[in-house]
Point group: C2
Chain length 426, copies 2
């Protein structure tokens, strides 16, 4: 199917055929959901020995009683797990509660209102701050900025990460830019892994940006490979050390998609100065994280090898679901002008770009046919996809059969929306 | 010992005698700590079956998978536990993470920056807000306000709660007052329980205060009685309902001093409007609380009777420690003019008022003799006790013998500081 070369007659023929297929699908009264990047129940069950793993031993190796108050930056054992996960020295890690999103929110809140390196560094003291958002991106990052009243400006994602020429140009041109969101590995939603060059250029942003500029490096899928020979992400920590920009990048990760999604442990990795700033904030707002759960996780994943073996089990459950999505896209859209997508080797999403102006209609048609997709636009700040083309597909929760069923609907809806749009433009 | 009636000669004699006793104590090289209101290891062990209590059952009665994301206000089972603890309908309860301090911080942050009932209600949009702090009070409450740049003004604590005449007068006179901290039962540090009249007058503050005024009702010691026939705290929730001031009071509690101090579950109870405001804030900063730990706690404390039986075990451990403090104070200071104190029937503290100007010196002398006390002034906003007289004693962590030892030191230091001050004023 090549719409750009099709005649009106051909388009009308396709429309009639697709409308018929669509009606047949609607009649099935499906109820499928591929909206959120959540682990499936099977994946969650991989970690069910967590509750009880301590066998009554609540004391850490250095004698800390995990049951009591205190310890704003987490226990040593959990820092080791964070180091295994993030490839950063334990001493640069802070271990939080159950959500890395909370650590990110607290970091942006601290940077904006209180200052990560003293009151003078608070973003609110300068011109109205702006944060760069590679798009498509993660809606919850955008919500953090939106709630805190921080303006977002977008740069395109490419197959090697954010368009770094655009990023550098923006920073050089505008002294009010204070931050940038990144999901460097299996980016949400496009699934790309930042290239070594991109990582290095990001580490160098500290040389050209305002002193209070911070990259919010959400490495949510650090070990979430579908294949054991998945791509390596270069170490941004090492790159910053090399370039003398240690304060520029603040990293985040969690066990949310490793153990139990809502009951895991979150980490941040940062320079001493950044950690001091965030600890000062945290000391007013918490008595410390749940250290018992930190110890549970450290016991459950005692070393890097155990972590990787565990992630292999996730991959075995996820791979057929991703295959179902990609097979459907390949067979429907390969060689057509109806859409484009990346083939992720990990993470939780497949990102599909329809022809401009077709995403909302596709999502609407799918919903009416009983298949819930993430709202079109959600992958852009303020919910505004200027080309109305990006759709995020999250296949982890449904069964493989359900993913196959959802993709049949998806493919039909993309085609129908595209053909109708092409017809309307004749 | 009555200093006000003593001759210089008598004071000199006492000073010499006490200085000798003090030197003998210093020579013992003690190392005792009565600074923080933490449960002891014995108390924490009462809840050690928590880890493993689920026996692999992670699903709630209504089918929620506690392991996955979602559920910003907590699971039904945990709301029931909150209702048992706080005496408020389950439907008015939000269950958070491991720290009620975090819920309080988030509430004040929301009220100040974002508005609990829409953007117009944000405190920062009006005149610089002030919050009333009954003193002596809890240092972490003060830190929340201090970090958020909210001015604190003090009112005296009495044996029936805050001086309500002073509170009402302040609110009537100053339209910039937006909040008030309260620890209504076994108040930190004085140990008093607010009288029924005080609770009722607080519920009525909504009639005279600004619409965005909120009482932050930190019921940290709701079930923390030393005796089974402890005093009853009147229901501020019912009082607000009676007076039509449902939005005025936001309640907080947690299991921190019930189960594991750092790994418990926190609760807030509020009107529908206040809950909606806080949920809107939370939806940007978290993917939801740790529901697995909520389910653990609901299983461990399945009903109000189980909760009260459990608290009885805490009381058995705490009572001899409180007795040691009170016996020492009674035998040293009864009938003297050296200090005053309340006799708490629960909670975690005994609050002692020295003669004006003697608290800092007492704490300094005790530290030199190897007994760590909470810094003098910590129970006042900005660390400033204008009379320099309040000292908080927290006897829960040391053994009974250690408390006895610490109190010997304390008593000697109070006497020595007092006599020296009296001498210096001759």
């Amino acid at each position: 199917m090549q719409l750009d070369q099709a005649t009106v007659e051909q388009l009308r023929e396709w429309e009639a055929e697709l409308a018929g297929q669509y009606q047949a699908i609607v009649a099935k009264q499906l109820n499928l959901d591929v909206t959120r990047g959540k682990p499936s129940a099977e994946q969650l069950s991989l970690s069910d020995t967590l509750d009880g793993v301590l066998e009554g031993q609540y004391i850490t190796d250095n004698g800390t009683d995990t049951r009591n108050y205190g310890g704003i930056d987490g226990i040593t054992e959990a820092k080791r797990l964070g180091a295994d996960l993030m490839g950063v020295p334990s001493s640069n890690i802070l271990v939080g509660g159950n959500a890395s999103l909370t650590l990110m929110y607290q970091t942006v809140l601290t940077a904006h209102h209180f200052g990560l390196t003293g009151p003078d560094s608070a973003w609110k003291n300068g011109p109205a701050p702006k944060v760069i958002c590679p798009v498509p991106g993660y809606d919850r990052h955008f919500t953090v900025c939106e709630q805190l009243g921080i303006e977002m400006i977008t740069v395109p994602m490419t197959a090697t990460g954010p368009d770094m020429d655009a990023v550098e140009a923006l920073i050089k041109a505008d002294n009010s830019i204070r931050g940038m969101w990144c999901v460097p590995k299996y980016s949400n939603p496009t699934g790309v892994v930042y290239s070594d060059e991109t990582v290095d250029r990001i580490a160098q942003l500290g040389k050209i940006a305002h002193a209070d500029f911070r990259v919010l490096w959400d490495n949510a899928y650090a070990v979430h490979d579908l294949n054991s020979d998945g791509p390596e992400l270069a170490s941004v920590f090492d790159a910053c050390a090399k370039h003398g920009t240690d304060n520029t990048v603040i990293q985040f990760a969690s066990t949310s998609k490793i153990t139990h999604a809502g009951a895991g442990v979150a980490f941040m990795a940062a320079s001493d100065a950044n950690l001091a700033g965030i600890k000062k904030f945290l000391s007013a707002s918490t008595i410390g994280p749940d250290k018992v759960n930190q110890l549970r996780h450290a016991q459950f994943l005692p070393n890097r090898a155990a972590l990787m073996t565990h992630m292999q089990k996730h991959a075995e459950l996820l791979q057929p679901r991703f295959d179902a999505v990609l097979t459907a896209l390949d067979s429907a859209f390969s060689g057509t002008d109806l859409g484009s997508w990346e083939t992720p080797q990990g993470g939780y999403f497949v990102s599909f770009d329809t022809r401009p102006g077709c995403a909302k209609e596709t999502v609407r048609l799918a919903a009416e046919a009983g298949v819930k997709l993430t709202p079109a636009g959600a992958t852009f700040p303020y919910g505004d996809d200027p080309n109305d083309c990006n759709i995020r597909i999250a296949p982890s929760v449904p069964s493989v059969e359900e993913v196959v069923g959802a993709m049949e609907v998806f493919v039909t809806c993309v085609k129908l929306a595209s053909v109708r749009q092409a017809l309307s433009q004749q």
